[in-house]
Symmetry: C2
Subunit: 528 residues, 2 copies
């Protein structure tokens, strides 16, 4: 990727599917990753880091599928400096219209000594070889000196020079452990520019973590120091405290553009929806006071503030909720709305739905509309995400019965349809009604399951709100996650659990197939 | 408050109970505010802004109670520049060992013109009169030019000079709408120091909001520019996107102390517990990737990171989880643990429990321990917060029966004990089992309720996790919130709902009493 024509244009590099997906308890399947990638394309990000292909067959498959399907952004695959990593990354991204390989190696002495257990010389050699190897495949190569902010800037400069010599087109400076401070990062990057004049001919990028709450500020300091790519993730997810939040960076540059002059290509109106989609599929809630996308980011509670906003909006607001797409709740359907109204509403939300899928959607819509007076855009979004996703072959919850009481332990019976259409039933007496349903499903399907995460959310407010549950569980070492939506929390929980179970079982199948496949592949392509 | 002896000592001013409590859907009663204030004292904050006494009788009562009870920190009450506000603030904080009045008026033209609908001259007059009036009562007076970062710095300087002339001991510069950027804020404060040399004789404070994700970075820029008080809130709660997170500021200064040289008096080991308490009582979840206090802030997921941490912790960790008190889960009790073990475990958690309270705690502990294999410190904390709080006179859930099924609408019957000990029952068929319980409680108590928030969380992981629910509801214009803890989600929901209902009804009583009282008070003391 060559530097953009406009010197003030900032490249938004989204790593939700790579660093974000590295968060504990997040386990997205290929279909879910594809859905997120499509939405990132609608959001107008410039680069999607789709995964780390060498790490698992599932990661490889997802990066390949995104490369083949998602139009618009550059699709990047991550790779250590190993030949096998770079080959896997290339094989995964090669079908993209604009592929990128992103390779990295640590330059901090603490990483070189303790983790890599090697020498600075070896690191230089590995960086050179990796970029050169990647360049044989494609032009767009990004190089990152990992843990750079804790590394000797002179040595890091040496390594960056080598990477640029070999043809790296983007140099990314990661604050891997979230340790730096804005003024320190500015000084670091300024020094780096001094030591490596060739940095002016490539795109300088920054990748900041939020361990001390400074990810956005450090990224911003990087942009002010000359960087023109910023690596970030939706809702700020990622390792530990996560990455810089994409939505905060984008809205900071947007809101202060008159003073700073930098701009991104992001379609800000897609921000709220992207945030909700990522939250729903990862099972990671967004706290109400999260900047830009939190439920209350635009709410005024104190009388003084409310009074001010009524007199003149800008007294207490620097952004409008509509700018980030938070007005989506204006679409409302009722129990008498027809198939055509539903189709139109879904189209407004960006979902092209027709034929059998529309029938399925309409059936579920009617069920919900019978119970809820009004069905809002956010309800529809939850339904679509929950119901219209390509159904994973596996188990389906057909029916359940629960008796719960403060006087005796709750009892659940469930009916499950199995992968071959067989009908299965199971019963269990548990500590709570949801616990009883989960165990009854285990009994019906004959699986041994470890529940890792369980979460319940209300999609919209009010007494008749839709409940949304998400489950992460483990079966025989494979992790699966699932979501369920219903006005009945027990039904939502049962649906989510059954889906998560089917997902985990599918992971096992993919892994088994991959094992068969790699048995025939030369040694160097396997994960080290 | 005079500037501390040590020029590197930063005063931590916590506004969780004032700006934090101003968040939509948060409704703390006096007992809950007191609990948070006690914990803030254990955390070692220097100043607790306990509320805005003029705004409601409940706010006044809470500030007064905290002033009378909580030892250690300065207790501040907020007041506009009106005489009535300052009188109310003084009356609320006067019993504190070290009281403070914090008064404010906007200096930005947009606020002066549209909200205050007055002139710059009038603002100067009001600031002068307010500080002078407060100084008649006490020495420790803080003044804030609201919306300062969007105001003319020369005019703001004029107003600050006046406040200092009249005896203000702290000047706080708020970025009220979360608009400024670190380099801009630095320039602003540097200019202010130039224009107001007397600022060097008082404590300069900063108060930043997180609308663009920069609250911590802007606060930090303020400290580097010379401020020695930082206003912040636990979990970063507050108006809209909230305030700077106390825990992030404290851990930033702690982690980078060798480089920056600033220090706070905070007891970092109390951070995690304070965060959990505030999250539980406000019903505001903390997202897993929240810096410092998020569930995953110290978790490593990627193979590379895990490998690094195993080889040498500091390869990927810049803080230790124990430093912020995240090791509390090491306390574990089982079903055979006795009364004494429970008392000791509670004491370790900072709860002095004996007599009847210990009996109540032990009874509930046994109920939970019968269902869960292991009861951890976090479970105990949830129980204590849920169960040992001074019981509010009102309704209590005695028993319930629920039948739920995918084949017909769920049906609930509940038994409630009323305020006079009477037994009430109610039944309802709802859209979901929780909905049915809530409506059955309405029927039993004969109240008309509007549900505003409902949330479910797992306290700890695993199949037998304790579920924690929180409810915010409205009865006849009064808001009440409540929490419930149980392994049975329906029981937890029912308990939370009944408590919230009792809280709302108590609010109504307090308001009615206050109305009687103010009828006899002169005009000027009433809320304008």
């Amino acid at each position: 990727m060559t530097p953009p024509e406009d010197p003030n244009r900032v490249i938004v590099f989204d790593t939700t599917l790579r660093d974000g997906e590295q968060s504990p308890g997040i386990s997205l399947n290929t279909q879910e990753k594809l859905e997120i990638a499509q939405q990132l394309a609608r959001l107008g990000v410039d680069v999607i880091e789709a995964g780390f292909p060498i790490t698992s067959p599932g990661d490889f498959e997802a990066v390949q599928e995104i490369s083949r399907t998602v139009e618009g952004p550059v699709i990047a695959g991550l790779a250590r400096t190993h030949v096998a990593d770079i080959d896997a990354a290339w094989n995964a991204v090669r079908d993209a219209a604009r592929p990128r390989i992103h390779t990295f190696i640590s330059t901090s002495d603490i990483h070189i000594q303790y983790q890599l257990q090697t020498t600075r010389e070896d690191v230089m050699g590995q960086a050179r070889a990796a970029v050169a190897h990647a360049k044989q495949y494609l032009d767009d190569v990004e190089f990152s000196p990992m843990d750079a902010t804790r590394a000797d800037v002179e040595f890091t400069a040496e390594v960056c020079k080598i990477a640029i010599d070999e043809g790296a087109t983007t140099i990314n400076i990661p604050d891997t452990v979230g340790y730096t401070m804005p003024h320190e990062f500015t000084a670091y990057l300024t020094k780096l520019y001094e030591l490596v004049p060739a940095l002016h001919d490539v795109v300088l990028s920054v990748h900041c973590h939020d361990d001390l709450g400074l990810a956005v500020a450090n990224s911003f300091a990087g942009l002010l120091a000359g960087a023109r790519q910023v690596e970030c993730a939706i809702n700020g997810i990622g390792e530990r405290a996560g990455n810089a939040s994409l939505e905060e960076i984008v809205m900071l540059l947007h809101t202060r553009q008159a003073d700073i002059g930098l701009r991104t290509g992001a379609v800000t109106r897609e921000i709220a929806r992207t945030s909700r989609l990522v939250s729903r599929l990862t099972g990671y809630p967004v706290q109400p006071n999260k900047a830009v996308v939190g439920r209350n980011a635009f709410a005024h509670e104190s009388g003084i503030h409310q009074d001010g906003v009524l007199k003149e909006r800008t007294t207490y607001e620097i952004m409008e909720a509509t700018t980030v797409g938070l007005d989506a709740n204006s679409i409302v359907l009722g129990k008498h709305s027809g198939r055509h109204a539903l189709q139109q509403a879904l189209a407004q939300l960006g979902f092209d739905v027709s034929g059998q899928t529309l029938n399925t959607a309409f059936k579920r819509f009617k069920e919900i509309a019978d119970k809820k007076k009004q069905v809002t855009a956010m309800d529809l979004e939850a339904l679509v995400t929950d119901e219209l996703r390509e159904e994973i072959p596996g188990y389906q919850l057909e029916w359940f019965e629960v008796e719960a009481s403060s006087r005796r332990p709750p009892h659940a019976t469930v009916g499950i349809r199995g992968p071959e259409g067989e009908e299965l039933t199971g019963s269990f007496t548990g500590d709570g009604p949801i616990d009883a349903i989960f165990h009854a499903i285990n009994t019906a399907t004959g699986t041994e399951v470890k529940l890792r995460e369980f979460r319940v959310d209300a999609v919209t407010g009010g007494q008749d709100a839709l409940g949304e549950t998400s489950v992460v569980l483990e079966v025989a070492g494979m992790t699966g996650s699932g979501q369920g939506v219903s006005t009945d929390i027990l039904e939502a929980a049962g649906r989510a659990y059954t889906r998560a179970l089917s997902n985990a079982l599918r992971q096992r199948t993919v892994a088994a197939e991959a094992e068969l496949a790699t048995a025939a592949v030369p040694e160097t392509v396997r994960a080290p």
